[in-house]
Symmetry: C2
Subunit: 273 residues, 2 copies
């Protein structure tokens, strides 16, 4: 391992872009650090306070701190440059090349990213999330008509978090249908889903992991027993094969990865905001 390093994400808005960007880069290094986020650093005084804090951390660790910046205001960006630290400046680096390629000046306005830049797109994300919540766990079969995609699988295999993530990130209308005992016995796609077969995507999971997850909710029940989880996953996967449904095994996947697989498989819109 290397020396301890302090890492900062600094922004004059929410800081989300700086965090996403910085985390992606940091995962490439075996660096043990707890980055500090400094959002809303949007005045000369705030920048000066940030500089002080960054340099204090550098003195403590006796190493130069690393700063990921997405400050958009040019004056504040210049001010930050005086800090005794390594500054990786996202806007400085890419805005210039984009301006010359596009033959236009950037607006240098803050607050459009992660704000309500496009009210229509923003409303869609919120509506999609409300849809995911109301169409959760088969509660609202009548809403399937509106669904971009319907996730099918046994209880606690990852349907709900994935639906909500797709709604929030991409404005996708995602419903979910938990397979019932009758469905597992029949081995066929439930009647209610047949009209929407092209929108169905199935999820499965390793029974050992499923038993673990279920036990956190209801320990020592038949529902959480390995045997029951084995039975359900085997029957569910049989159904998916029988019906030729596309499916993923979520055991070692994050919801971001599951969502990306589903979106690609079902050619769903990625409604970026």
């Amino acid at each position: 391992m290397s020396d301890p390093r302090s890492v900062f994400f600094i922004s004059d808005r929410t800081g989300i872009t700086a965090e996403t960007l910085g985390q992606s880069l940091l995962t490439q290094f075996a660096l043990d650090c707890s980055p500090v986020s400094m959002p809303f650093t949007d005045s000369p005084e705030a920048v000066d306070a940030a500089i002080e804090r960054i340099e204090a951390a550098g003195r403590r660790n006796q190493s130069r701190p690393i700063v990921f910046s997405t400050i958009i205001d040019a004056g504040l960006r210049n001010r930050l440059r005086r800090v005794n630290a390594v500054v990786l400046d996202f806007f400085d680096t890419f805005i210039g090349p984009l301006e010359s390629e596009l033959g236009m000046e950037s607006s240098h306005t803050i607050g459009r990213s992660h704000g309500i830049a496009d009210p229509g797109a923003y409303k869609l994300r919120i509506d999609a999330m409300n849809y995911a919540l109301s169409a959760d766990d088969g509660a609202a079969v009548r809403h399937y008509e509106q669904a971009d995609v319907i996730l099918v699988g046994v209880s606690r295999c990852g349907k709900t978090p994935t639906c909500i993530y797709m709604a929030l990130q991409y404005g996708i209308y995602a419903a979910n249908y938990p397979l019932t005992d009758d469905d597992l016995l029949s081995g066929r796609l439930p009647e209610v889903l047949r009209p929407y077969r092209q929108r169905v995507y199935a999820l499965t999971i390793r029974p050992e992991r499923l038993a673990q997850i279920r036990a956190e909710r209801r320990a020592n029940t038949r529902y959480a027993s390995l045997r029951q989880c084995q039975y359900e996953t085997v029957r569910a996967e049989g159904l998916f094969h029988q019906e030729k449904l596309p499916f993923s095994n979520t055991t070692t996947m994050s919801i971001e990865e599951i969502a990306a697989m589903i979106i690609q498989s079902r050619q769903l819109p990625r409604r970026l905001y």
Copy 2:
């Protein structure tokens, strides 16, 4: 407006970093474009297919496409470089400076960002989301003990989406409490919240906007009437002032901005994954 331009986000994993990064930059330009995401571009064949698609778009628009890349594999990155387009390569740009500053080589491994890089942190996010869902709309008062923060406000002012966002993005345990008629009449913080006063954050909203949102759910009801919305928001804000609760007006804020405000105000942990 400029010429039509095609924009692509390309990645050998989920593409989320490329999208976040690219969108942030694009919001700085008055550019009318619908970016195309190309996730899982993780083989020479996939890169070649992407190049073909990008160049075809360039010929159609008679302008150079713009490509935001977060491809981590060095061989694939080199291969992409042959494309007739402007490539803004996130890893190429920042990994070099980081390697020399840290005195260590990057792992060049893909799949750690937006995957389950840290199983503990990932589980926390999912648990936090399940918590937000189960503690929604005051349904689970007994769970307030676990909350990092408790959002208080009138029905449909933005509590639920904000709670879920904070859970998903930062692993924050966020509960929510909708103010009842009795609470609004008394003008005091509800008894059940008093032990947790330091964790309460309040939301309000302009009555005109609230009436609009409520009308989408239940048009032509007293609940959705402007008069009722005015009454509730005035009483709620009176309560917030009386109890000296920190609060935000969500009318023109995105959930990302609301979340960032709350996190800063209540000094909540940003548990990045």
